[in-house]
Symmetry: C2
């Protein structure tokens, strides 16, 4: 019999197939194939992108020329635009507002062909530091209530460009799914006076069966209520609502666990595409919760989401997270 599991944060149910679980070889996923060709994110193509917003560069090199390690530019096709006011208004029974926000692209490294496991730890630390710098800069704009950092790697994960990059979107409202998490964590905190994420860390590090890796500052694990097979969460051990408040010691620890976790995944699923999303607290006054705890949710693209998931918000998970974590630990 399968198992129904309920997540303690949002109350989402998933159906875990404990009876006939999928092994890694049972997944037919679309591998990420690098086709090459002209790339606006490679050295020498700097003129193909909008002007540089910020970069980490070799001393003496000029903006919008080679010599950078991490480079941030405005998205050429932004979902939202920085200029203007929100101007929220009605349209009969509907509501609308102008698409005000920011949409930046962070090129993680100059290498077209290198995914995170192929980078040096120091290179990963560089782009994580830049995540923090850009988010810290964007929250100064009081119109923005949330800064979202996410990565689509590979066409199957929705990436339209091959060269590894992260997107940064500043939004004028707190997104629905973030608000659900914040509210869920807040209810738990009100009732238990404890952070639900800290409690998850406690249970996971005790039980160990869903843990993939652990270092001084972080754990990576397959969540009890995974929505996707081989879903992975990376969570700081220290309670903190804000990604950007990471300490200088935490950044290398995050770089290291991120690199090793993805390396393990890609040993099992060669050239797999993936998404990851930084979950952090809202900014500028909206929706702060004492019981919230930032983390990264990582989703390899092994399956397609179908009608059942769209119709219910439920997920059917063909590989129990305990089994996924075991494969990952041993890979």
């Amino acid at each position: 019999m399968s198992e129904l599991r309920r997540d303690p944060i949002c109350g989402r149910w998933v159906i875990v197939d404990t009876d006939h679980p999928n092994k890694p070889e049972d997944f037919e996923y679309e591998p990420h194939i690098i086709r090459g060709g002209a790339c606006p994110f490679c050295y020498g193509s700097e003129a193909m992108t909008p002007p540089e917003i910020e970069a980490i560069r070799q001393p003496g090199t000029q903006p919008n020329t080679p010599g950078w390690q991490v480079r941030v530019v405005a998205n050429k096709f932004p979902a939202l635009q920085v200029e203007g006011e929100l101007d929220r208004r009605g349209d009969g029974i509907y509501d609308l507002s102008n698409g005000v926000g920011a949409h930046e692209v962070l090129v993680e490294a100059p290498y077209h062909h290198k995914d995170i496991p192929d980078l040096l730890n120091s290179e990963i630390e560089n782009f994580i530091s830049m995540y923090c710098r850009r988010a810290s800069d964007l929250i100064k704009d009081k119109r923005f209530k949330y800064v979202l950092l996410f990565k689509n790697f590979g066409a199957a994960a929705g990436a339209s460009l091959e060269h590894p990059h992260t997107q940064i979107v500043a939004l004028p409202m707190v997104p629905k799914s973030v608000m659900e998490e914040i509210k869920g964590a807040h209810s738990y905190f009100e009732y238990r006076e404890r952070c639900v994420f800290c409690d998850i860390i406690k249970q996971e590090t005790q039980e160990k069966e869903r843990i993939i890796l652990e270092n001084k500052h972080f754990i990576s694990f397959c969540p009890y209520v995974s929505r996707f097979p081989f879903e992975i969460w990376i969570m700081p051990k220290k309670h903190s609502g804000y990604f950007i408040q990471m300490t200088p010691e935490e950044i290398p620890a995050l770089a290291s666990i991120l690199k090793e976790t993805i390396a393990k995944l890609k040993k099992i699923f060669v050239n797999v595409s993936y998404n990851f999303i930084v979950h952090t607290s809202p900014i500028n006054g909206d929706g702060f919760a004492e019981g919230y705890h930032w983390h990264i949710e990582f989703m390899p693209k092994l399956m397609r989401v179908a009608g059942f998931e769209w119709g219910t918000g439920f997920y059917i998970v063909p590989t129990p997270p305990e089994m996924a974590a075991k494969y990952l630990r041993e890979s």
Copy 2:
């Protein structure tokens, strides 16, 4: 500048690209290609499926033999199983229960190669009647709180079998996304003493710009707050919370609008894959809302959902629904 739109039911925001909208030819979708081969849902393969639960058959033919027009069998790989009790319990801070439920497959017609637009109206009426019969039967089981009907057509939409079919899942709890809709509709009803869906129908039939088709009993339209390009909702004009309470006159009207709407879509997007989901009220006492109104949500698979959508619950829609509806009306 793009537009942010908020849906009046759940409060979900979407970003509509009104500036550089995608035209139909801008989408690179994965076409549904029929490969053929042995099919458990074709005439003569009845023994390849679990035994027939119910069928519409030519008089004199036996169950589990050819001669059927619509055939319902248990899912060979069910997500949930009919036997047993729910037995909800804790696992540290987590919750789980047995995977109790029902998972049936409704083979819509004997033809491997015919999608809904290729069927006779009477054939579509047959399978819609069977939807109602199966749902009416499943709600007799008091353990079930929701009956979900959904269709995955084509591999890009998550279908693992080519032969057109609908899945029926009876769940022991009301799914999260259904509950959100019910609650949203209820809040609107409490405040305005009107059904939000009836108000949507009123505004859409007046403004007409998002309408695709209309007949005596139904409208099909691209919703103001579409999450996906060319998303379509089909909604009964008569206020009713329950799909299964359709009147005998409504069934042919639904068959006709469903057929013609999908035909129009497939003229623009040849061999497109799609999902549709019947949204209806919960059963057996849980979560009924006076202001709820059943409808069908139809989503062609033209794009992939990526990190932004997973991270926010927001959607970026590259084609405004007004433009999509115009293309569909004129196709």
